[in-house]
Amino acid sequence: MSVSATNISDRMAATGTANALELRGVSKMFGALEALGDIDMTVKPGERRAVLGSNGAGKTTLFNCITGDFPPTTGSIRFFGEDVTGFPAQERIRRGLRRTYQISLLFTGLSVIDNIYLACRGVSRGRFSLLRPRRNDALMQSAEDLVRVVHLDDVRDTMVSDLSYGQQRQLEIAMALSGAPRFILFDEPAAGLSPTERRELVDILTGLPGHVGFIIIEHDMDVALRVSDRVTMMHNGRIFKEGKPAEIEEDPEVQALYLGGGHG
């Protein structure tokens, strides 16, 4: 493992009960438009959080602030006790933060195992190595394991361009799981999936190792409520409700605003 990872686990041990993610007073303005307003959010290590809300509620903007695509206008973001508000995306990735994208960004000319291998290689040394990995290469092993975790064993050597949409989304998750992440942001992983594929997605998400926490943005309430421990509802760039999945589902305000009085 690389030097920085050792520091991270040291840090993890040192911070002890530090929250995985802590947002305080985070807001984001695009000119005069308030995309995010006064967000206070705490996610514990290993917690599974769902962020729900209608289109334009600010969910993706929230993700982009957390990953470092752009800095928040005000407020602070702490990742496992460390203030990462000013850090570039690269630094947050090195500290164990991962993200999936709404539009799969995969390597279409390479196979499934190649894609995952590249993702694993990215945060470790030897990226310029001219030598093929040896038989007992640890990185190769992790890549193989990840193929199994996302149920893509039978298409291991298939080119990404030949995969179905659902399989590509599964691969996307595998990419996010590479390199021992501590926290993942899933951006609408269920979009465009068939019911069977959605069930598989729920299996994969609930089957993730216990120490890996995540936030999932979803429109599909079924998937979101089934995989999460806690739900945050956003509206117009602000958080307006937070609670356990069952509570949120039955809350009349949520129903009126988001579900339209019924749940389908």
């Binding site: 995306a89 690269q90 990735i93 090195r94 993200r99 960004l105 995969l106 390597f107 279409t108 000319g109 390479l110 195992i113 190649d114 291998y117 590249l118 993702a119 290689r121 990215g122 945060v123 030897g126 990226r127 310029f128 190595s129 001219l130 030598l131 093929r132 990995p133 040896r134 038989r135 007992n136 290469d137 190769m140 193989e144 050597d157 990419m175 590479s178």
Partner: protein, 349 residues
């Protein structure tokens, strides 16, 4: 394939690897080894030798274009640069410039300088969108051409260098047809094998990742610019070797070798063969060499003047790009796929 799931003994592993090499390569390999037995000097030196050389240079373009998504028109400039360095630091008829250093200094030095040159060019060319690469590398190749033509102190201007010969190692005249054939074949096979091997090493895989999705690669922690520049450096070694062999073949190097025409010829060769697989570079080179050698007769037979060679090449190139942009290899793939398909149901047989 990088398949490592259970420990095996070395012998079964080797046997598996040998079995996985397509039979075509075995046939080709044996054929290449025994050709000197029945071929004429002309075929060995001029046709096969030139095929291996041009194939090497086109291979460097294929590496950058096929695996890296960067179509560089500067590969011939790099090849010529290496040839010039050998002429300048080694022996030639221009005793005023040539340093006359021993070959075991000159050749590594020439390749090293070529890599430096290519790294600089790569750095200039890769920090913009991929589509600019063709333009920028073409302009740089042109700049190099004009420079070699104008500069007399180092490059001896219009005339260039002649009598640039390979060293007499082991008492062999390496410009003799058979020796030269084996020399160029050795380097062609080595280059081919190296590119194929590296394509599945982290270096090659990362390059392909950068080709397919630079944004994702950056998000995964890769330095996209560094990988692209490193690819130029790697390709320069291959192009440099080809350039040195080219200089030895004609025993001379001049601005004409690195002109715009030659630069475009290499692109034509790589595209005709196919950018998807390293063998395409050599297929394209073979066809180009055949055309160049026999086209004059064909043209005269067709009633056109013998000088209309460019027209022939251009039309051939246009036809290939029009109907099979993946070159002849792409055509071959399509044929194989259609034969496998059941004409009634469209499914695989």
């Amino acid at each position: 394939m990088v398949a490592i799931d259970s420990p095996r003994t070395t012998t079964t592993d080797m046997r598996r690897r040998i079995a996985s090499v397509p039979p075509v390569y075995w046939v080709l390999g044996i054929l290449l080894l025994i050709i000197p037995a029945f071929a004429s000097d002309f075929v060995m030196f001029q046709i096969m030798g030139w095929t291996f050389i041009l194939g090497l240079i086109a291979l460097s373009l294929m590496f950058l274009g096929g695996y890296g998504g960067m179509v560089s028109l500067a590969q011939m400039a790099f090849a010529g640069f290496a040839g010039y360095m050998v002429a300048i630091f080694g022996d030639s008829a221009i005793s005023g410039i040539s340093q006359g250093w021993p070959w075991w200094i000159v050749i590594p030095l020439a390749l090293f300088l070529t890599v430096i040159f290519a790294t600089a060019v790569g750095w200039l060319a890769v920090r913009t969108e991929g589509i600019y690469t063709i333009m920028i590398t073409l302009a740089i190749a042109a700049a190099f051409f004009y420079f070699t033509r104008q500069n007399y102190e180092l490059f001896n201007g219009f005339q260039g260098f002649n009598s640039v010969l390979p060293p007499e190692l082991f008492g062999i005249d390496w410009r003799g047809p058979e020796a030269f054939y084996y020399l160029t074949m050795f380097w062609a096979v080595t280059g081919f094998g190296a590119v194929l091997y590296v394509s599945r090493a982290p270096f090659g895989l990362a390059l392909q990742g950068v080709r397919d999705n630079p944004r994702r690669m950056a998000a995964l922690g890769y330095n996209v610019t560094a990988h692209r520049v490193a690819a130029y450096a790697f390709a320069a070694v291959i192009a440099g070797i080809g350039g040195i062999l080219l200089t030895w073949q004609s025993a001379q190097i001049s601005p004409g070798t690195v002109g715009i025409q030659s630069a475009i010829d290499i692109l034509v060769i790589a595209v005709i063969g196919g950018l998807r697989h390293p063998i395409g570079a050599f297929i394209g080179a073979f066809i180009f060499v055949l055309l160049k050698t026999f086209a004059v007769d064909v043209l005269i037979a067709l009633g056109l003047g013998g000088e209309r060679f460019q027209l022939l090449i251009g039309m051939g190139f246009l036809i290939i790009v029009f109907f099979s942009p993946d070159g002849l290899l792409g055509l071959w793939e399509k044929l194989k796929a259609s034969r496998r398909r059941d004409p009634l149901t469209g499914g695989q047989r």
